[in-house]
Point group: C2
Chain length 213, copies 2
Amino acid sequence: MTQTSMLSGFGRSAPAAGDWDGAARLTFHPGEEIYAQDEDADLIYRIVRGSVRTTHLQADGRRQIGDFYYEGDVLGVEMGEAHRFSAEALTVCEVVALRRSGSAAYDSDRLDRMIWAATASELRRTQSHMLLLGRATACEKVARFLLDIADRFRGEVVALPMSRQDIADYLGLTIETISRMLGRLQAEGLVEFTSSRNYRIHQRASLSEMAAA
Amino acid sequence: MTQTSMLSGFGRSAPAAGDWDGAARLTFHPGEEIYAQDEDADLIYRIVRGSVRTTHLQADGRRQIGDFYYEGDVLGVEMGEAHRFSAEALTVCEVVALRRSGSAAYDSDRLDRMIWAATASELRRTQSHMLLLGRATACEKVARFLLDIADRFRGEVVALPMSRQDIADYLGLTIETISRMLGRLQAEGLVEFTSSRNYRIHQRASLSEMAAA
DNA sequence: CGGGGCCTTGATGCTGTTCAAATAGAGTGG
DNA sequence: CCACTCTATTTGAACAGCATCAAGGCCCCG
Protein backbone atom coordinates (compact mmCIF):
# COMPACT_ATOMS: atom_id res chain seq x y z
CA MET A 1 0.00 0.00 0.00
CA THR A 2 1.04 3.54 -0.48
CA GLN A 3 1.46 4.41 3.14
CA THR A 4 5.13 4.97 2.60
CA SER A 5 4.43 8.03 0.55
CA MET A 6 1.62 9.09 2.80
CA LEU A 7 3.73 9.56 5.83
CA SER A 8 6.51 11.69 6.94
CA GLY A 9 8.40 12.99 9.84
CA PHE A 10 8.03 16.05 11.90
CA GLY A 11 10.30 18.99 11.44
CA ARG A 12 10.23 20.96 14.63
CA SER A 13 8.29 19.94 17.72
CA ALA A 14 9.88 19.06 20.98
CA PRO A 15 10.44 15.34 20.86
CA ALA A 16 8.25 13.82 23.52
CA ALA A 17 8.66 10.46 25.04
CA GLY A 18 6.07 7.79 24.46
CA ASP A 19 5.11 5.60 21.60
CA TRP A 20 5.77 8.16 18.97
CA ASP A 21 9.23 9.57 19.26
CA GLY A 22 9.54 12.97 17.74
CA ALA A 23 5.84 13.65 17.93
CA ALA A 24 4.36 16.83 19.27
CA ARG A 25 2.55 16.49 22.55
CA LEU A 26 -0.48 18.70 23.11
CA THR A 27 -3.02 19.32 25.82
CA PHE A 28 -6.65 20.29 25.29
CA HIS A 29 -9.35 21.32 27.73
CA PRO A 30 -13.01 20.29 27.66
CA GLY A 31 -14.75 21.76 24.64
CA GLU A 32 -11.54 22.76 22.88
CA GLU A 33 -11.20 21.87 19.25
CA ILE A 34 -8.40 19.54 18.24
CA TYR A 35 -9.09 19.90 14.56
CA ALA A 36 -11.91 21.50 12.60
CA GLN A 37 -14.39 20.23 10.07
CA ASP A 38 -13.19 21.09 6.53
CA GLU A 39 -9.66 21.62 7.77
CA ASP A 40 -6.85 19.91 5.90
CA ALA A 41 -6.41 16.39 7.13
CA ASP A 42 -2.69 16.50 7.54
CA LEU A 43 -2.14 15.38 11.09
CA ILE A 44 -3.14 12.30 12.97
CA TYR A 45 -3.45 12.15 16.72
CA ARG A 46 -3.10 9.51 19.34
CA ILE A 47 -4.86 10.04 22.65
CA VAL A 48 -2.55 9.58 25.60
CA ARG A 49 -5.09 10.62 28.19
CA GLY A 50 -8.69 11.82 28.11
CA SER A 51 -11.61 11.43 25.73
CA VAL A 52 -12.68 13.06 22.49
CA ARG A 53 -15.78 13.34 20.32
CA THR A 54 -15.84 13.92 16.57
CA THR A 55 -18.78 15.91 15.26
CA HIS A 56 -20.19 16.82 11.89
CA LEU A 57 -22.21 20.01 11.75
CA GLN A 58 -24.71 20.79 9.01
CA ALA A 59 -25.62 24.23 7.77
CA ASP A 60 -28.99 24.14 9.53
CA GLY A 61 -27.40 23.29 12.86
CA ARG A 62 -28.13 19.60 12.99
CA ARG A 63 -25.23 17.73 14.46
CA GLN A 64 -24.02 14.17 14.12
CA ILE A 65 -21.42 12.72 16.44
CA GLY A 66 -19.07 10.47 14.49
CA ASP A 67 -17.61 8.61 17.41
CA PHE A 68 -16.14 8.85 20.88
CA TYR A 69 -12.44 8.18 21.38
CA TYR A 70 -10.48 7.25 24.45
CA GLU A 71 -6.95 6.68 25.66
CA GLY A 72 -4.97 4.76 23.07
CA ASP A 73 -7.30 5.53 20.16
CA VAL A 74 -6.04 7.19 17.00
CA LEU A 75 -7.87 10.20 15.60
CA GLY A 76 -7.90 11.97 12.28
CA VAL A 77 -7.34 9.12 9.85
CA GLU A 78 -10.31 10.07 7.68
CA MET A 79 -9.53 9.78 4.01
CA GLY A 80 -9.70 12.63 1.60
CA GLU A 81 -8.28 16.12 1.55
CA ALA A 82 -10.22 17.60 4.43
CA HIS A 83 -11.80 16.40 7.65
CA ARG A 84 -15.54 15.80 7.44
CA PHE A 85 -15.72 15.89 11.21
CA SER A 86 -14.22 18.17 13.79
CA ALA A 87 -12.68 16.74 16.95
CA GLU A 88 -13.24 18.24 20.38
CA ALA A 89 -11.96 17.27 23.79
CA LEU A 90 -14.60 15.98 26.19
CA THR A 91 -12.28 15.94 29.16
CA VAL A 92 -8.81 17.28 29.70
CA CYS A 93 -6.84 15.49 27.07
CA GLU A 94 -3.28 14.84 26.15
CA VAL A 95 -2.55 13.84 22.56
CA VAL A 96 0.49 13.31 20.41
CA ALA A 97 0.30 14.56 16.84
CA LEU A 98 2.13 13.36 13.76
CA ARG A 99 2.24 14.77 10.27
CA ARG A 100 1.33 12.21 7.66
CA SER A 101 2.24 13.94 4.43
CA GLY A 102 5.58 15.34 3.38
CA SER A 103 9.02 13.94 2.92
CA ALA A 104 9.71 10.31 3.59
CA ALA A 105 10.89 9.72 7.09
CA TYR A 106 12.68 7.59 9.55
CA ASP A 107 10.30 5.01 10.91
CA SER A 108 7.76 5.09 8.17
CA ASP A 109 7.15 1.37 8.16
CA ARG A 110 5.91 1.39 11.69
CA LEU A 111 3.79 4.46 11.02
CA ASP A 112 2.35 2.83 7.95
CA ARG A 113 1.23 -0.12 9.93
CA MET A 114 -0.24 2.14 12.56
CA ILE A 115 -2.19 4.20 10.06
CA TRP A 116 -3.43 1.09 8.38
CA ALA A 117 -4.60 -0.37 11.66
CA ALA A 118 -6.30 2.88 12.61
CA THR A 119 -8.08 3.07 9.28
CA ALA A 120 -9.26 -0.49 9.54
CA SER A 121 -10.55 0.16 13.03
CA GLU A 122 -12.25 3.33 11.86
CA LEU A 123 -14.03 1.49 9.07
CA ARG A 124 -15.24 -1.21 11.41
CA ARG A 125 -16.55 1.28 13.92
CA THR A 126 -18.23 3.39 11.29
CA GLN A 127 -19.96 0.30 9.91
CA SER A 128 -21.21 -0.58 13.38
CA HIS A 129 -22.44 2.93 13.87
CA MET A 130 -24.22 2.85 10.53
CA LEU A 131 -25.97 -0.37 11.50
CA LEU A 132 -26.96 1.17 14.80
CA LEU A 133 -28.51 4.21 13.14
CA GLY A 134 -30.29 2.37 10.38
CA ARG A 135 -32.77 0.02 11.96
CA ALA A 136 -32.93 0.15 15.71
CA THR A 137 -35.49 1.51 18.12
CA ALA A 138 -34.60 4.21 20.61
CA CYS A 139 -34.40 1.66 23.38
CA GLU A 140 -32.09 -0.61 21.41
CA LYS A 141 -29.83 2.27 20.52
CA VAL A 142 -29.46 3.34 24.11
CA ALA A 143 -28.92 -0.20 25.36
CA ARG A 144 -26.20 -0.79 22.79
CA PHE A 145 -24.62 2.50 23.63
CA LEU A 146 -24.39 1.63 27.31
CA LEU A 147 -22.86 -1.74 26.48
CA ASP A 148 -20.37 -0.28 24.02
CA ILE A 149 -19.13 2.30 26.47
CA ALA A 150 -18.92 -0.24 29.25
CA ASP A 151 -16.80 -2.52 27.08
CA ARG A 152 -14.13 0.14 26.81
CA PHE A 153 -13.67 0.49 30.53
CA ARG A 154 -12.85 -2.50 32.61
CA GLY A 155 -14.15 -0.86 35.76
CA GLU A 156 -17.30 -1.81 37.60
CA VAL A 157 -18.63 1.74 37.45
CA VAL A 158 -18.66 3.32 34.02
CA ALA A 159 -18.18 7.06 33.56
CA LEU A 160 -19.86 8.95 30.74
CA PRO A 161 -17.60 11.83 29.75
CA MET A 162 -20.20 13.14 27.29
CA SER A 163 -23.43 15.06 27.77
CA ARG A 164 -26.95 13.83 26.99
CA GLN A 165 -26.87 16.04 23.92
CA ASP A 166 -23.72 14.27 22.74
CA ILE A 167 -25.37 10.90 23.23
CA ALA A 168 -28.47 12.11 21.39
CA ASP A 169 -26.41 13.36 18.45
CA TYR A 170 -24.50 10.11 18.38
CA LEU A 171 -27.65 7.97 18.29
CA GLY A 172 -29.80 10.24 16.15
CA LEU A 173 -32.30 10.91 18.92
CA THR A 174 -33.25 13.81 21.22
CA ILE A 175 -32.02 14.39 24.74
CA GLU A 176 -35.53 13.85 26.07
CA THR A 177 -35.71 10.42 24.48
CA ILE A 178 -32.26 9.54 25.83
CA SER A 179 -33.32 10.53 29.29
CA ARG A 180 -36.55 8.55 29.09
CA MET A 181 -34.84 5.40 27.82
CA LEU A 182 -32.15 5.59 30.48
CA GLY A 183 -34.92 6.00 33.02
CA ARG A 184 -36.75 3.00 31.66
CA LEU A 185 -33.67 0.77 31.67
CA GLN A 186 -32.96 1.78 35.22
CA ALA A 187 -36.58 1.22 36.29
CA GLU A 188 -36.34 -2.28 34.87
CA GLY A 189 -33.24 -2.88 36.93
CA LEU A 190 -30.88 -3.47 34.00
CA VAL A 191 -28.61 -0.59 34.94
CA GLU A 192 -28.20 1.73 37.86
CA PHE A 193 -27.14 5.36 37.70
CA THR A 194 -25.20 6.53 40.72
CA SER A 195 -25.19 9.99 39.20
CA SER A 196 -26.28 11.28 35.80
CA ARG A 197 -22.84 10.48 34.40
CA ASN A 198 -21.96 7.26 36.19
CA TYR A 199 -23.64 3.93 35.85
CA ARG A 200 -23.23 0.29 36.61
CA ILE A 201 -24.61 -2.59 34.57
CA HIS A 202 -26.68 -4.99 36.65
CA GLN A 203 -28.05 -7.44 34.13
CA ARG A 204 -25.75 -7.60 31.18
CA ALA A 205 -27.60 -10.49 29.58
CA SER A 206 -30.94 -8.70 29.60
CA LEU A 207 -29.32 -5.52 28.39
CA SER A 208 -27.68 -7.38 25.51
CA GLU A 209 -31.02 -8.85 24.65
CA MET A 210 -32.59 -5.41 24.43
CA ALA A 211 -29.69 -4.26 22.32
CA ALA A 212 -29.69 -7.10 19.84
CA ALA A 213 -33.34 -7.73 19.14
CA MET B 1 -20.07 -20.61 1.19
CA THR B 2 -16.32 -20.56 1.53
CA GLN B 3 -14.05 -19.09 -1.03
CA THR B 4 -12.25 -22.28 -1.57
CA SER B 5 -15.39 -23.95 -2.67
CA MET B 6 -16.45 -20.92 -4.61
CA LEU B 7 -13.22 -20.79 -6.43
CA SER B 8 -13.17 -24.46 -7.17
CA GLY B 9 -14.80 -23.49 -10.39
CA PHE B 10 -11.78 -21.46 -11.27
CA GLY B 11 -10.20 -24.31 -13.05
CA ARG B 12 -12.61 -24.10 -15.88
CA SER B 13 -13.08 -20.36 -16.11
CA ALA B 14 -10.54 -19.08 -18.56
CA PRO B 15 -8.26 -16.61 -16.81
CA ALA B 16 -9.46 -13.42 -18.38
CA ALA B 17 -7.32 -10.52 -19.34
CA GLY B 18 -8.05 -7.08 -17.97
CA ASP B 19 -6.85 -5.05 -15.05
CA TRP B 20 -6.13 -8.02 -12.90
CA ASP B 21 -4.07 -10.55 -14.71
CA GLY B 22 -4.44 -14.00 -13.34
CA ALA B 23 -7.65 -13.14 -11.57
CA ALA B 24 -10.67 -15.36 -11.74
CA ARG B 25 -13.57 -14.04 -13.67
CA LEU B 26 -17.05 -14.94 -12.48
CA THR B 27 -20.62 -14.31 -13.54
CA PHE B 28 -23.58 -13.94 -11.20
CA HIS B 29 -27.27 -13.66 -11.90
CA PRO B 30 -29.77 -11.38 -10.15
CA GLY B 31 -30.20 -12.41 -6.52
CA GLU B 32 -27.16 -14.69 -6.47
CA GLU B 33 -24.79 -14.35 -3.58
CA ILE B 34 -21.23 -13.30 -4.29
CA TYR B 35 -20.11 -13.75 -0.72
CA ALA B 36 -21.97 -14.39 2.51
CA GLN B 37 -22.24 -12.57 5.79
CA ASP B 38 -19.86 -14.13 8.38
CA GLU B 39 -17.86 -15.80 5.64
CA ASP B 40 -14.09 -15.42 5.74
CA ALA B 41 -13.05 -12.20 4.10
CA ASP B 42 -10.29 -13.53 1.96
CA LEU B 43 -11.20 -12.40 -1.52
CA ILE B 44 -11.84 -9.02 -3.00
CA TYR B 45 -13.88 -8.43 -6.13
CA ARG B 46 -13.91 -5.86 -8.83
CA ILE B 47 -17.11 -5.36 -10.80
CA VAL B 48 -16.55 -5.50 -14.52
CA ARG B 49 -20.20 -5.24 -15.44
CA GLY B 50 -23.44 -5.07 -13.49
CA SER B 51 -24.46 -3.88 -10.03
CA VAL B 52 -24.33 -5.33 -6.55
CA ARG B 53 -25.84 -4.68 -3.12
CA THR B 54 -24.27 -5.56 0.21
CA THR B 55 -26.68 -6.46 2.98
CA HIS B 56 -26.50 -7.12 6.68
CA LEU B 57 -29.19 -9.37 8.11
CA GLN B 58 -30.12 -9.44 11.78
CA ALA B 59 -31.48 -12.42 13.64
CA ASP B 60 -34.98 -10.95 13.74
CA GLY B 61 -35.02 -10.41 10.00
CA ARG B 62 -34.33 -6.71 9.88
CA ARG B 63 -32.08 -5.90 7.00
CA GLN B 64 -29.67 -3.06 6.35
CA ILE B 65 -28.19 -2.43 2.93
CA GLY B 66 -24.56 -1.39 3.26
CA ASP B 67 -24.14 0.09 -0.17
CA PHE B 68 -24.74 -0.33 -3.87
CA TYR B 69 -21.81 -1.01 -6.16
CA TYR B 70 -21.40 -0.54 -9.89
CA GLU B 71 -19.00 -1.19 -12.69
CA GLY B 72 -15.46 -0.40 -11.62
CA ASP B 73 -16.16 -0.56 -7.89
CA VAL B 74 -14.24 -2.87 -5.58
CA LEU B 75 -16.11 -5.12 -3.17
CA GLY B 76 -15.18 -7.07 -0.09
CA VAL B 77 -12.47 -4.91 1.46
CA GLU B 78 -14.13 -4.91 4.88
CA MET B 79 -11.63 -5.30 7.65
CA GLY B 80 -11.66 -8.10 10.14
CA GLU B 81 -11.76 -11.83 9.83
CA ALA B 82 -15.21 -12.20 8.39
CA HIS B 83 -17.60 -10.20 6.25
CA ARG B 84 -20.26 -8.32 8.19
CA PHE B 85 -22.26 -7.97 5.02
CA SER B 86 -23.16 -10.35 2.27
CA ALA B 87 -22.98 -9.29 -1.37
CA GLU B 88 -25.64 -10.14 -3.92
CA ALA B 89 -25.93 -9.37 -7.61
CA LEU B 90 -28.72 -6.97 -8.53
CA THR B 91 -28.33 -7.46 -12.25
CA VAL B 92 -26.33 -9.92 -14.27
CA CYS B 93 -22.84 -9.25 -13.12
CA GLU B 94 -19.31 -10.04 -14.13
CA VAL B 95 -16.64 -9.74 -11.47
CA VAL B 96 -12.98 -10.58 -11.12
CA ALA B 97 -11.86 -12.04 -7.82
CA LEU B 98 -8.44 -11.86 -6.19
CA ARG B 99 -7.11 -13.45 -3.07
CA ARG B 100 -5.68 -10.80 -0.79
CA SER B 101 -3.73 -12.90 1.64
CA GLY B 102 -1.64 -15.92 0.97
CA SER B 103 1.41 -16.49 -1.09
CA ALA B 104 3.39 -13.41 -1.79
CA ALA B 105 2.47 -12.61 -5.29
CA TYR B 106 3.81 -11.17 -8.40
CA ASP B 107 2.51 -7.65 -8.25
CA SER B 108 1.77 -7.19 -4.59
CA ASP B 109 2.65 -3.51 -4.62
CA ARG B 110 -0.04 -2.75 -7.08
CA LEU B 111 -2.47 -4.95 -5.21
CA ASP B 112 -1.67 -3.12 -1.98
CA ARG B 113 -2.31 0.23 -3.56
CA MET B 114 -5.60 -1.00 -4.91
CA ILE B 115 -6.71 -2.37 -1.56
CA TRP B 116 -5.73 0.83 0.14
CA ALA B 117 -7.67 2.95 -2.33
CA ALA B 118 -10.71 0.71 -2.03
CA THR B 119 -10.59 0.86 1.76
CA ALA B 120 -10.33 4.63 1.72
CA SER B 121 -13.28 4.83 -0.62
CA GLU B 122 -15.24 2.43 1.53
CA LEU B 123 -14.63 4.50 4.63
CA ARG B 124 -15.73 7.69 2.93
CA ARG B 125 -18.91 6.11 1.61
CA THR B 126 -19.73 4.51 4.93
CA GLN B 127 -19.31 7.87 6.66
CA SER B 128 -21.67 9.49 4.17
CA HIS B 129 -24.18 6.74 4.70
CA MET B 130 -23.94 7.14 8.45
CA LEU B 131 -24.60 10.86 8.14
CA LEU B 132 -27.57 10.12 5.91
CA LEU B 133 -29.09 7.70 8.40
CA GLY B 134 -28.49 9.77 11.48
CA ARG B 135 -30.37 13.01 11.10
CA ALA B 136 -32.38 13.30 7.93
CA THR B 137 -36.08 13.21 7.22
CA ALA B 138 -37.58 10.64 4.89
CA CYS B 139 -37.82 13.22 2.15
CA GLU B 140 -34.20 14.29 2.52
CA LYS B 141 -33.03 10.71 2.46
CA VAL B 142 -34.87 9.94 -0.75
CA ALA B 143 -33.74 13.16 -2.43
CA ARG B 144 -30.12 12.45 -1.57
CA PHE B 145 -30.48 8.91 -2.75
CA LEU B 146 -31.76 10.00 -6.15
CA LEU B 147 -28.92 12.48 -6.49
CA ASP B 148 -26.28 9.97 -5.41
CA ILE B 149 -27.41 7.38 -7.89
CA ALA B 150 -27.67 9.93 -10.67
CA ASP B 151 -24.09 11.05 -10.02
CA ARG B 152 -22.82 7.60 -10.82
CA PHE B 153 -24.39 7.46 -14.25
CA ARG B 154 -23.64 10.14 -16.74
CA GLY B 155 -26.78 9.45 -18.69
CA GLU B 156 -29.84 11.64 -18.82
CA VAL B 157 -32.13 8.83 -17.73
CA VAL B 158 -31.08 7.01 -14.58
CA ALA B 159 -31.84 3.33 -14.06
CA LEU B 160 -32.52 1.91 -10.61
CA PRO B 161 -31.30 -1.67 -10.56
CA MET B 162 -32.65 -2.19 -7.03
CA SER B 163 -36.16 -2.76 -5.70
CA ARG B 164 -38.11 -0.41 -3.44
CA GLN B 165 -37.36 -2.79 -0.59
CA ASP B 166 -33.65 -2.41 -1.26
CA ILE B 167 -33.95 1.36 -1.22
CA ALA B 168 -35.98 1.19 1.99
CA ASP B 169 -33.38 -1.00 3.68
CA TYR B 170 -30.64 1.30 2.49
CA LEU B 171 -32.30 4.41 3.90
CA GLY B 172 -33.82 2.88 7.02
CA LEU B 173 -37.40 3.45 5.87
CA THR B 174 -40.32 1.34 4.61
CA ILE B 175 -41.26 0.71 1.01
CA GLU B 176 -44.49 2.64 1.50
CA THR B 177 -42.61 5.72 2.64
CA ILE B 178 -40.19 5.40 -0.27
CA SER B 179 -43.07 5.22 -2.68
CA ARG B 180 -44.81 8.22 -1.14
CA MET B 181 -41.69 10.37 -1.15
CA LEU B 182 -40.90 9.48 -4.75
CA GLY B 183 -44.48 10.40 -5.57
CA ARG B 184 -44.17 13.69 -3.79
CA LEU B 185 -40.93 14.64 -5.49
CA GLN B 186 -42.45 13.80 -8.84
CA ALA B 187 -45.62 15.76 -8.06
CA GLU B 188 -43.47 18.76 -7.27
CA GLY B 189 -41.78 18.39 -10.64
CA LEU B 190 -38.29 17.78 -9.28
CA VAL B 191 -37.99 14.38 -10.93
CA GLU B 192 -39.92 12.37 -13.46
CA PHE B 193 -40.34 8.62 -13.48
CA THR B 194 -40.69 7.14 -16.92
CA SER B 195 -41.22 3.77 -15.25
CA SER B 196 -40.91 2.65 -11.67
CA ARG B 197 -37.22 1.97 -12.20
CA ASN B 198 -36.20 4.80 -14.49
CA TYR B 199 -36.14 8.47 -13.71
CA ARG B 200 -34.85 11.77 -14.92
CA ILE B 201 -33.90 14.74 -12.75
CA HIS B 202 -35.67 17.93 -13.79
CA GLN B 203 -34.64 20.44 -11.17
CA ARG B 204 -31.33 19.44 -9.74
CA ALA B 205 -30.97 22.64 -7.74
CA SER B 206 -34.29 22.19 -5.95
CA LEU B 207 -33.57 18.54 -5.37
CA SER B 208 -30.19 19.37 -3.85
CA GLU B 209 -31.89 21.87 -1.61
CA MET B 210 -34.29 19.23 -0.33
CA ALA B 211 -31.38 16.87 0.18
CA ALA B 212 -29.12 19.23 2.07
CA ALA B 213 -31.47 21.09 4.37
C1' DC C 1 -56.13 -14.82 -20.14
C1' DG C 2 -54.51 -15.74 -15.56
C1' DG C 3 -51.06 -15.69 -11.81
C1' DG C 4 -47.65 -13.51 -9.07
C1' DG C 5 -44.38 -10.13 -7.89
C1' DC C 6 -43.71 -5.37 -7.30
C1' DC C 7 -45.37 -0.93 -6.60
C1' DT C 8 -48.81 2.52 -5.18
C1' DT C 9 -52.44 4.43 -2.38
C1' DG C 10 -55.44 4.98 1.70
C1' DA C 11 -56.68 4.73 6.76
C1' DT C 12 -55.09 4.27 11.32
C1' DG C 13 -51.77 3.88 15.13
C1' DC C 14 -47.41 4.19 17.55
C1' DT C 15 -42.79 5.88 18.39
C1' DG C 16 -40.17 9.54 19.08
C1' DT C 17 -40.31 14.77 18.69
C1' DT C 18 -41.57 19.20 20.21
C1' DC C 19 -42.79 22.46 23.50
C1' DA C 20 -42.94 23.59 28.25
C1' DA C 21 -41.73 23.46 32.94
C1' DA C 22 -39.80 21.47 37.13
C1' DT C 23 -35.66 19.56 39.42
C1' DA C 24 -31.01 18.59 40.27
C1' DG C 25 -26.03 19.75 40.17
C1' DA C 26 -21.93 22.37 39.66
C1' DG C 27 -19.58 26.48 40.17
C1' DT C 28 -19.09 31.25 42.35
C1' DG C 29 -18.84 34.79 45.48
C1' DG C 30 -20.11 36.34 49.94
C1' DC D 1 -20.66 26.88 54.56
C1' DC D 2 -24.52 28.87 52.37
C1' DA D 3 -27.16 31.51 48.92
C1' DC D 4 -27.36 32.33 44.20
C1' DT D 5 -26.98 31.46 39.35
C1' DC D 6 -26.41 28.93 35.35
C1' DT D 7 -26.57 24.83 33.02
C1' DA D 8 -27.70 19.92 32.54
C1' DT D 9 -31.11 16.64 33.18
C1' DT D 10 -35.63 14.91 34.03
C1' DT D 11 -40.53 14.82 33.48
C1' DG D 12 -45.12 15.83 31.40
C1' DA D 13 -48.49 16.70 27.62
C1' DA D 14 -49.62 17.43 22.85
C1' DC D 15 -48.18 16.69 18.21
C1' DA D 16 -46.06 14.84 13.81
C1' DG D 17 -43.79 11.80 10.99
C1' DC D 18 -43.28 7.52 9.67
C1' DA D 19 -44.85 2.65 10.31
C1' DT D 20 -48.34 -0.63 9.98
C1' DC D 21 -52.24 -2.77 8.08
C1' DA D 22 -55.05 -3.37 4.13
C1' DA D 23 -56.50 -2.88 -0.66
C1' DG D 24 -55.95 -2.02 -5.27
C1' DG D 25 -53.27 -1.39 -9.71
C1' DC D 26 -49.46 -2.43 -12.82
C1' DC D 27 -46.48 -5.26 -15.42
C1' DC D 28 -44.11 -9.19 -16.78
C1' DC D 29 -44.30 -13.86 -18.10
C1' DG D 30 -46.30 -18.16 -18.65
